[in-house]
Amino acid sequence: MSARTKDIELHDVEQRFHARGSATGFLTAVHETSFTLRSDPPHIVSLVGQSGSGKSTIARIILGLQRPTSGTVTYGGKDIFKLSRAEYDDYRRNVQPVFQDPYAIFNPVYRVDRVLRTAIKKFGLTKSKARAQELMEESLRAVKLDPAQVLGRYPHQLSGGQRQRIMLARVHMLRPAFIIADEPVSMLDAQVRKLFLDILVDFQRAYGMTTLFITHDLSTVYYVGGDVMVITKGRVVERGPVAQVMHTPSHSYTKMLLASVPQPDPDKRWTDRIDIEEADREEAAPEVPTSDPARVPRP
């Protein structure tokens, strides 16, 4: 089975955290969630939800950064936390992230090149110095960055949009089968945001990378297209092709989300009033202090 035909499958994944102050002592971030990301045909799936909905937890679990309390995540049919050395290498090579915060993603003490060089070294892209340089420059150009203006710089010398595109260049170099993009544009300005999304969609098409696009912003979901899953309070409540979910939403939560997006058109102002109490109920509870998930006993 080649990498391009391996799927990521979530089976009844549940994630609980210790939470002081909640009735049960637990906070369930993700309730028994199952879905499959298929690598063939490559496509975009958006996971849309508000803060505290559990969407970022799902990203961390898929990336193997967090062990779920129960349930399994498999890659090519194997539990990602029980892979052999070779299987682990294959999984890491083919499941790669783009994270939210373009500032915190770079270690402030190193030049930005290090992120790319590490990828080249650790995934054995090439041993030759000249070829590595070529690879970096090629990938930076693919994300519309001028290598001369980026290489050798420190993170604080670049803008948020430039840094986030370096992360895209890293993806371009690695060409994984799956991109897990957790709120990649939420901290970018509108113009850079559009550029970033265009590149992401182009990559997905050109290199056949299945993309899990996690966002809180329905308009960006619409922009990238593909399929969408709506998640609230740790449960996926609606899924389907973007056009269908957006135009004929079936779940009341999806309807409310759609009705809340401020349309950038003064002629399309809201004429009705929102029920404040209902909105308050939907908003995530005030943040409950949670502790290390590693200490949650497995049931």
Partner: protein, 280 residues
Amino acid sequence: MPDDALVEIKDLRVHYRTTQGDVPAVDGVDLTVRRGEILGIAGESGSGKSTLAVALLRLLRAPGYVAGGSIDFHPSGQPSVDLLAMDERRLRSLRWRSLSYLPQGSMNSMNPVMRVGEQFRDVILEHAPERRNQLATMVPRLLRQVGLDEGVVRMYPHELSGGMKQRVLMAMSIALEPDLVVADEPTTALDVTIQRVILQSLGDLRDEFGVTLVVISHDMGVHAQLVDRVAVMYEGKVVEVGDVRQVFKQPRHPYTRSLIESIPRIGEAPWRDEKRSPVA
């Protein structure tokens, strides 16, 4: 002076001192806020819109400094003043009563160990001690105005969600019936459903209490939904100011145009557009 002007900003220049010399953040801004309007200030990060707000509120801190210009404020029933030329003591008497602020990231703007009611009490007694007797009725009324239960009076900030905290601060900002409220990114970092609640409440402030609002936001959707006029800032300058419909429908400045065009809209699906060139 136009009769309806509440604030007149004239040739305002704000610079930041850096090791590489002074950098202008606000570079010669002229802007009038009309009494009773909601004025939006739009622009991307680094455009100078937040610096403009803090300068207007005299909250600018080093290394920022005002390099020139004036801000004339015409509060109702009081003599006009230049906010930039006035001393701290006089400024204090204006704060909250005539000029108040709804800060960005309201989550961190409340005292975590004081109940909501006590925070109101502090502000009101500090700036309007003559209202001591009205406190008991005033605070629940203010909270109701922003759609909060009066029980919130007895709660601590950590018991409130982000949207509720934002509305508590909103109620506090109008407690002493100021002429002007400056809201800095009032919906940033809030969920969309709560954003809508905040926008609705901000609109109510003006419609029901006649407060003049200056709303700073990078989100063009917020401006389209809420404001009457919008000023677009770019590299420290106001490149365009006008009626919100005019600015959205017939933007004059190319920057405004690109800003509006770059917003993804639900209902327009670019992914069906095959003209977009794939990379490879």
